[in-house]
């Protein structure tokens, strides 16, 4: 099965990656930061030049300084919505991944369940979230419940696929040892397969965390309520360009932070489990 191989490949590659490097000297730190993140500086400078050279006014393109000033100076205006979005993403991530693991275990338990659920899971994956939002909003109402449902759906599939793949490909010799020791199916699941599936879950977590934030914002933007998506929609309609761009900036930083954080969690977890 290609998915199993794929997850195995990712897990292997991740496990092989160095976990921690020795702390470099201060000069080394500066050089490393510059060498890694110079693109961000280029982006900011480009933004500034683009705005000032074309002589755009602040309604069309606000300058980076103004945007950052708004984010830093009026952080109170951003914070409640930021927290709302983060809360929704985290809650959706948690329930979605839990549901993914539960269904993966159910599929492992019986081929009947597998035949029933796998097509549904595939359909949920193939239909873009944007297309589902209006339908789901009708069903669950225009509120936080629907945002939660959407982030859950987005978080569900990777966890399901990667965990299901790992549950199927435990090392043969270890499975044989469990068999000879007289292990029951539940014991095999609990002591061998679930721990063996943790690296797959970590891969799913890294892939999912940023997109959960994105999905939450998208849902908020389209449906209203609270959150960064709403803040963005409102500041656009009320001609607050610094606020709108500031929201985008905050969202970008949050997504990147989620990815970096999730990757760190994954690396730690892999070092522990393999």
């Amino acid at each position: 099965m290609t998915l199993a191989e794929e997850s195995e490949r990712i897990v292997r590659a991740r496990a092989a990656a160095p976990v921690r490097r020795p702390a470099p000297r201060t000069g080394g730190v500066v050089r490393r930061v510059v060498s890694r993140y110079w693109t961000i500086a280029v982006l900011l400078v480009g933004w500034q030049l683009w705005a000032s050279l074309n002589g755009y006014n602040r309604i069309v393109v606000p300058q980076p300084g103004e945007v950052v000033a708004d984010v830093v100076g009026n952080s109170g205006a951003y914070l409640p919505d930021l927290l709302a979005t983060l809360g929704m993403s985290a809650a959706g991530l948690l329930t979605g991944m839990a549901a993914g693991v539960a269904l993966a275990v159910a599929v492992w338990t019986s081929p009947l369940v597998s035949g029933m659920t796998t097509p549904i899971a595939l359909i949920m994956r193939s239909v873009p979230v944007v297309a589902m939002i209006p339908v789901l909003a009708r069903v669950f109402g225009y509120g936080w419940q629907t945002v939660l449902v959407i982030t859950t759906i987005v978080s569900f599939f990777p966890a399901f696929v990667f965990v299901a793949a790992r549950l199927r490909d435990a090392p043969r010799s270890t499975s044989d040892v469990f068999a000879v020791l007289g292990a029951s199916r539940v014991t095999v699941l609990r002591r061998l397969l679930l721990p063996h599936a943790v690296p797959g879950l970590l891969v799913a977590f890294r892939l999912t965390a940023p997109s959960a934030v994105l999905a939450a914002m998208l849902a908020e933007y389209l449906m209203g309520g609270r959150g960064l998506g709403v803040l963005f929609a409102q500041s656009v309609s009320f001609y607050q360009p610094e606020r709108a761009w500031g929201t985008a900036l905050v969202a970008t930083v949050v997504s990147v932070a989620c990815f970096v954080g999730a990757r760190a969690v994954e690396r730690r977890g892999l070092a522990r489990m393999t």
Binding site: P171, S173, T174, D176, V177, F178, A179, V180, L181, G182, A183, T187, R191, L192, P195, V198, R272, M273, T274
Partner: protein, 264 residues
């Protein structure tokens, strides 16, 4: 011997291939192992010797013939948690410490862990100082020692070893063999070892069974009478080399064309 601990009677094992055809791994294979005896099954690769072990372990069932351990089916011993096994791959849990890996058989059996016995086993395999290390932090030889400690954990009635040192380098392998000879002299468990290493078989076993190429049958049985505990001096005994040479010749012959459509 009164009742053998392990008895395989005219066992045939066939593995189905594409429709209708089957490959015969074992052909009317007979083997009896007495209580407390150490028997090594020696054969060229692909001769079905691992199949013998898998049948005794209850991991496979014979196509014809019977496999009994103490008069019962292997599955019954498995259910009673009375078998111990170690494979060429250490098959340790990578997320668990050496100690936790040795404790696994108790947890699988749903019994309280006998901490004193775990300590004793870790000492027996010389890993007292490494109890908290995880497999990736141990050398290949150490991992195999943990695997053997795990196999011995519940003081099984039967110990099954499938090339337990096959993945190690020659020097480590030799050291591990002497180590296993010492451990076995202390535990004296009925043991079936499957290997293609003649020195290993002769050093460890009371009896060496040489198999033919596929389909596997018993070609020759050799009793090894060196006194125990066997230490490194045994391997310098001319009698030891005489036996090793003779068995090696038998192995070579069973590998010759005509005998061996049995390439691994």
């Amino acid at each position: 011997m009164s009742q053998p601990a392990i008895a395989l009677q005219s066992v045939v094992k066939e593995f189905p291939l594409r429709r209708g055809t089957a490959v015969r791994a074992l052909d009317r294979f007979d083997l009896q192992i007495a209580d407390g005896e150490f028997v090594a099954v020696l054969g060229p690769s692909g001769c079905g010797k691992s199949t013998v072990l898998r049948l005794v372990a209850g991991l496979d069932t014979p196509s014809e013939g019977t496999v009994t351990i103490e008069g019962a089916r292997p599955a019954d011993l498995v259910r009673g948690h009375r078998l111990g096994v170690a494979f060429q791959e250490h098959a340790l849990l990578p997320w668990a410490s050496a100690r936790a890996n040795v404790e696994l058989p108790w947890k699988v059996a749903g019994r309280p862990v006998d901490t004193a016995r775990v300590d004793e086993l870790l000492e027996l395999v010389g890993l007292t100082g490494f109890a908290d290390a995880r497999p990736r932090q141990l050398s290949g030889g150490m991992r195999q020692r943990v695997a053997i400690a795990r196999a011995l954990a519940l003081t099984p009635d039967v110990l099954l070893l499938d090339e337990p040192f096959g993945a190690l380098d020659a020097v480590t392998r030799r050291r591990m063999n002497l180590e296993l000879a010492r451990i076995w002299a202390e535990e004296r468990i009925t043991t079936l070892l499957v290997t293609h290493d003649v020195d290993e078989a002769v050093l460890l076993a009371d009896r060496v069974v040489v198999m033919t190429g596929r389909p596997g049958r018993v070609r020759h049985t050799e009793s090894i009478d060196f006194p125990r505990p066997r230490r490194t001096e045994v391997t310098r005994d001319p009698a030891f080399h005489e036996i090793v040479d003779r068995l090696t010749r038998l192995l070579d012959e069973s590998d010759e064309p005509g005998h061996s459509d049995a390439a691994a």
